[in-house]
Symmetry: C2
Subunit: 408 residues, 2 copies
């Protein structure tokens, strides 16, 4: 019997009526002779509410406690979904991340999956049951509960699909698929019928609402991921071993424009320019589990240098603490930060062998009077850090400038 | 270093301010050189809210799913309490029932503790940590989450105190201790400075707000249990190897009056009066994990009998289903039920060798025009089933009639 993994986000399970509606949809798939493993996120704004609750107790809650607290949101949603399926006559069972065998490392708040022990999952599937798994969470070797970070339920779903050899992983959300830009910002944005893993990885890393790690996992294990709406029957977007992995001459060069306002910049000024400085600066951040994005370093004539890098805004206080610890070691007088920035990126595998995309991007932004603070590039992406208040305009200008508007 | 177990009920941890206040109290105890393991219930009405949420999805939720759902309430409270302790500078860690090694049987909704594996608890205590345990829950051999039934956090606390060899278990609640009757019903009710396990067991079984199983456990393992208010410094009630276990001639004969409105009565009519009937009727109820209380059987001249028994109101639908299955087997034409009843009990070890208490109780109720539907007795308790609307009056009349009013 074919097996698919479904994943439903918070808005898809926000209340009892929506949960029952999703359960009916899962039931239809089951009736068609398909085995279903469903991953659910916490209902609506539950996770935000729990974070606020913790902040009423402590300004800086312990990460281990925070993870155990947040994991309850997905447990509630997955038991309710199971009750809904059972009330419709389907034999269903809920499993916590721990019960589903999702073993992670110990980096609380952004744990990574080490392995999935599928014994319990396979036992329940063998009984003909629909399994509902609490997304976003796992367990360490010491039986402590971890969470995978915001959007982590996508990763739970793709990891389960890989571990169980599912035909594909279907991500149901509040949008109809992946667009050439955020339709809320760009009315003419096009929905993509398909996209390759690498392009999607860049889109997800730079603002599209999917967990980038889920795309990495999908690519590594070659799990096709289908993104569509839980509220409409419109066709969605298939993320798979697509055009960007099989170069063709005349495909669309730019897949999409994306932006990310969750950007904070840290600048360490007048660092001595000698070997080992970057390591001394960035190793403590890595040890603290913080992901550093764009890094820019420019050495001046007096043999000192300013190093700037970006982190997510939630990591800014922690990152500053780590940096302050090593200021003396690296011979830097002080550190500055700015959390009024955002990134805008153009993404497309078509760029990699074609010169001129970067220049065209900078020209379009300059004509819009948008100043560029930092620049980074990958093979298939160019990102600019700009003022947050200008980033939406930047997306619109680039979408038009690269002629991505929907064909009339 | 001496060790105590504290338990805080839902009203004691109802909001952030209360949680921080409790944490400060725990901190003071820790500062005095005492090791503390704290058990917390879910905040305020969380459990009721979760039950209602489940009922919006399904009228008859699966018990396994219900337990996993309800267990989240205590997880939230215990992580917040841990954050509060840490914000005050105490090294604290939260443990779910599973992490605290609380292993139970598989009777969802009212699981019983099989054993406590104290390895993790002892490891954390050895680190000098204050441990905060999620009450009310455990885990089965198959790693499924169970709950211990309403009030189960008391049992968690006493079981941990027994397993860890604690000096005593302190139950902090919204009343100042154990009274000779509910002070809300009887303004002259007396607070008891101490009470024996057996008397307390009867009080708890027949309406006082403590989990009777916690008292059984305390008695078996000889764990002194101290009940007092988390909102005042008034002295509470010590439940221990007390006067009822060491008979003395001139002690107070009646410890208290209690009532329970969570009573439903089932009557199976015209049962054939032959051996095995009671077993055929009650075995399926026991297998379904339902606790049957008062049982009355009266055989009539025509060799048939009516069997009546009481269950908690929550168990009434399930109990009726079990009974209906065996009606044919036991040769009974039909079954009736009544959920408008309540029990009122007088409790005191002083009664066991002294005749006349029952007669005096029945006389007091009769003079109050309160009709008695069923009667049961134990060595140290006499209970009458009466109409629910008369039970509060019954408590007041009995409290006065047995001269339990506070000395002026």
């Amino acid at each position: 019997m074919p097996l698919v993994v479904h994943k439903y986000g918070g808005t898809s399970v926000a209340d009892a009526a929506k949960i029952l509606s999703v359960a009916r949809g899962i039931g239809k798939v089951r009736d068609s002779g398909v085995e279903v493993v469903t991953v659910v996120s916490a209902m609506g704004n539950t996770t935000d509410d729990l974070v606020r609750l913790a902040e009423t107790i402590s300004p800086d809650p312990d990460p281990r406690e925070m993870d155990l607290l947040l994991s309850t949101g997905e447990l509630v949603a997955c038991t309710l979904m199971t009750m809904a399926l059972r009330s419709l006559g389907y034999d269903a069972i809920s499993l916590s991340g721990s019960q589903a065998g999702i073993h992670t490392d110990t980096v609380y708040g952004k744990a990574r999956i080490d392995r999935i022990d599928t014994a319990r999952l396979k036992k329940e599937l063998a009984k003909g049951r629909v399994i509902v798994v609490a997304g976003f969470q796992g367990i360490t070797a010491d039986q402590d509960i971890t969470t995978l970070g915001r959007g982590g339920s996508d990763t739970t779903a793709v990891a389960l699909a890989a571990a169980l050899g599912a035909e594909r992983c279907e991500i149901y959300t509040d949008v109809e698929g992946i667009y050439s830009a955020d339709p809320k910002l760009v009315p003419g944005a096009r929905k993509l019928a398909e996209i390759g893993y690498r392009e999607m990885l860049e889109l997800a890393s730079y603002g599209a609402k999917m967990h980038p790690r889920s795309i990495e996992l999908g690519r590594y294990y070659n799990v096709p991921i289908y993104v569509s709406s839980s509220f409409s029957d419109a066709s969605g977007t298939l993320i798979h071993q697509g055009p960007d992995e099989q170069p063709m001459e005349n495909r669309v060069k730019i897949a999409g424009i994306t932006c990310d306002t969750n950007v904070a910049k840290i600048t360490v000024r007048s660092v001595s320019d000698r070997p080992g400085i970057a390591a001394a600066l960035f190793e403590p951040l890595a040890d603290a589990g913080m992901s550093v994005d764009t890094i820019v370093q420019n050495t001046s004539l007096d043999r000192t240098t300013d190093i700037s890098f970006t982190v997510s805004r939630g990591d800014l206080p922690g990152a500053l603490r780590q940096v302050e610890k090593v200021l003396e070691t690296i011979g830097a007088p002080d550190v500055a930060s700015d959390s009024t920035l955002a990134s805008v990126s153009i993404i497309g595998s078509g760029m990699q062998n074609t010169p001129g995309y970067a220049a065209r991007m900078f020209r379009i932004l300059a004509e819009g009077n948008i100043n560029i603070d930092m620049i980074t590039t990958s093979e298939i992406r160019i990102s600019c850090i700009v003022k947050e208040e200008q980033v939406e305009e930047a997306v619109r200008l680039l979408h038009r400038g690269f002629e991505l508007e929907e064909a009339q």
